[in-house]
């Protein structure tokens, strides 16, 4: 086991490095935005109402002071790191003075639950079908399933989502098409609220699953059709091992490795939010927050969301690497 321990430590070091570089790149990129949060606030405050030009200069100055935007980039960089190490992203600039962490905390549960459910569901169904299709490649039903999964896969996600919306929200209006739960409901653990949340999530989950299925399906089918031709599978078949057992223990298990990698990364990537899903279904979450933050030039918020996302994906990658040697004995820990 000491070999594994060394591996663990080097891997942890690499993790820290990647996170550090990632956050730095995010800092540079977000601060390169030409959108100035002060100008955005001024535009929002003066958009329709009366304004006197003399007052604007005064307003600009006091907002700069308020948002703490005075001082150069190096100063802001230092302030950013000193805050972030204690988990504080500072105040949002487009919802001043509310802390960024409060805004993220409000949106994150929605995104995480929606995407974890749809990603896992899609992954399981896609791999199951893909594996079966790769193994029983003469089954007509599975071929049909393959063609269907494949046909949905390339349709731009926006269209699939919108078609679902039209069909189940308009033509045959049985499902809610907007929001995360019904109006005038308190967010609490009650049957009514949970039921409402579930019914609101059906269309978003279905849209993500329809489009995502094909990818896993194809990957798994390719992998399985590869494994099927391996000698040990042929031996097993000749040796009269039950096909069900061959499929489960010999074929799927070995073909699944790269797919597990894929799953872990998709799970890590959910902190980016499903921007279009949220847009189409008016679903609350981190994606909408991100888009509006970008529009408002709120780099505190953009940086907060990107940092959370960077850390989450890094952890996912780290976990894969740490588990890989344990799952696939052929890979020796180095």
């Amino acid at each position: 086991m000491p070999g594994y321990l060394v591996y663990l430590l080097t891997r942890l070091g690499q993790f820290a490095l990647v996170v550090f570089i990632g956050i730095n790149i995010a800092f540079i990129v977000t601060h390169a935005t030409p959108i100035d949060p002060v100008e955005q606030s001024i535009a929002a405050a003066t958009q329709f109402g009366s304004t006197s030009p003399e007052a604007i200069a005064l307003m600009r100055q006091s907002l700069k002071e308020l948002y703490g935007l005075e001082g150069d980039l190096a100063h802001q960089y230092a302030a950013f790191w000193s805050r972030i190490l204690v988990g504080n992203f500072g105040p949002s600039l487009s919802a001043f003075p509310t802390p960024v962490s409060v805004l993220i905390g409000r949106a994150l549960p929605w995104t995480v639950s929606l995407l974890v459910v749809s990603t896992v569901l899609t992954w399981v169904m896609g791999n199951l079908l893909g594996g079966l299709a790769g193994y029983f490649h003469r089954s007509r039903a599975l071929r049909l399933a393959g063609i269907l999964a494949m046909a949905f896969h390339p349709i731009p996600y926006y269209i699939v989502a919108f078609l679902l919306l039209i069909v189940f929200g308009h033509v045959w209006p049985i499902l809610p098409i907007s929001g995360g739960s019904s109006m005038n409901m308190t967010q609490e653990w009650s049957w009514a609220f949970v039921g409402s949340v579930v019914s609101h999530a059906i269309l978003p989950v279905a849209s993500l699953a329809l489009v995502g299925l094909g990818g896993w399906f194809m990957g798994m089918r390719a992998l399985v059709s590869n494994v099927v031709t391996e000698d040990y599978v042929t031996y097993a078949e000749l040796g009269g091992v039950a096909r069900r057992r061959i499929l489960a223990a010999y074929v799927m298990r070995n073909a699944l490795m790269p797919q597990v990698t894929g799953l872990a990364m998709s799970l890590g990537a959910i902190f980016n939010g499903a921007i279009i899903t949220e847009q189409v279904f008016g679903y609350p979450g981190i994606g909408t927050l991100l888009v509006s933050a970008v529009h408002a030039g709120d780099y505190s918020l953009v940086l907060g969301i990107t940092t959370v996302s960077i850390v989450a994906v890094s952890i996912a990658v780290l976990l894969i690497d740490l588990l890989y040697p344990l799952l696939d004995p052929r890979v020796r820990a180095r």
Binding site: P154, Y158, M218, N226, L290, T306
Partner: protein, 283 residues
Amino acid sequence: MWRTLRDLLRFNRQFAAGIVLLGIVAAFSCLSFFSPYPPNDSFVVPPDVPPSWAYPMGTTSRGQDLFWLLSFAIRNTLLFGMVVAILSRALALVIGLVAGYSGGLVDRALMSINDTFIVIPLFPILVLFYFVMRDHMSWGLLALMMACLGWAYDARLIRSVALSLRTREFTQTGIFSGMSTRQILVEEHLPYVLPILFSTTMNNINWSIGLEVTLSVLGFTDINTPTIGVLIYWANQHTALVAGIWWWLFFPVLLVVMTFIGLFLLAVSMNEHIDPRSRLGRS
């Protein structure tokens, strides 16, 4: 080379179907060179006409003949997808194989770079890129940017395969029989990686087209260059779906689906050709 192609066309129905589908799409995109209208001009034909003999795909609410407009759009989109795919595949393949085979320090260094690219969230980068580029934003630049961001995920996939290949017997045999690293990678490992590469190529084309559409739907795009995404953007601006102008979205989507199924069929049949063992399994 030509003989294999001929054989494939003759004996492999999937390959033939794929070629036909892609051929139709490619031929259609070539029609753009003969379009009677410049792609950006609007109100050159009556708006909102459903598909008919005069306008085989109907006209848009902007008074454009969808047939000709779409030929421009699919051309740009195909080019876009291909540029992104080719560039990012090359990166993914080289980095994945080398990292997986070499292991040790090389692997760790390459994977650190790789992981940094994986963990940086795409969307804010692309959007900020759009704002920084402003008036100079074009699909060419976007393609380049996306190729740089789109390889890391697949490099990791390829590496994981290469990693398990490294411990296989034939690799050891190859090393003992004095094959160079390049030889082992290209001759022994590449065939195992190719199916994944083809499957990721399609995924990648799909991903880049999908992302292009996403950025367009959200409006972060150069609306002066027609692509499938920009077409959808304009259709949305005119609420085409609820207004009943279904053809404005139907035909672009149809073409994208055709492209993708064509690519898929090609990949499957080529996969079988490259890896003859799976051909035996077909019986």
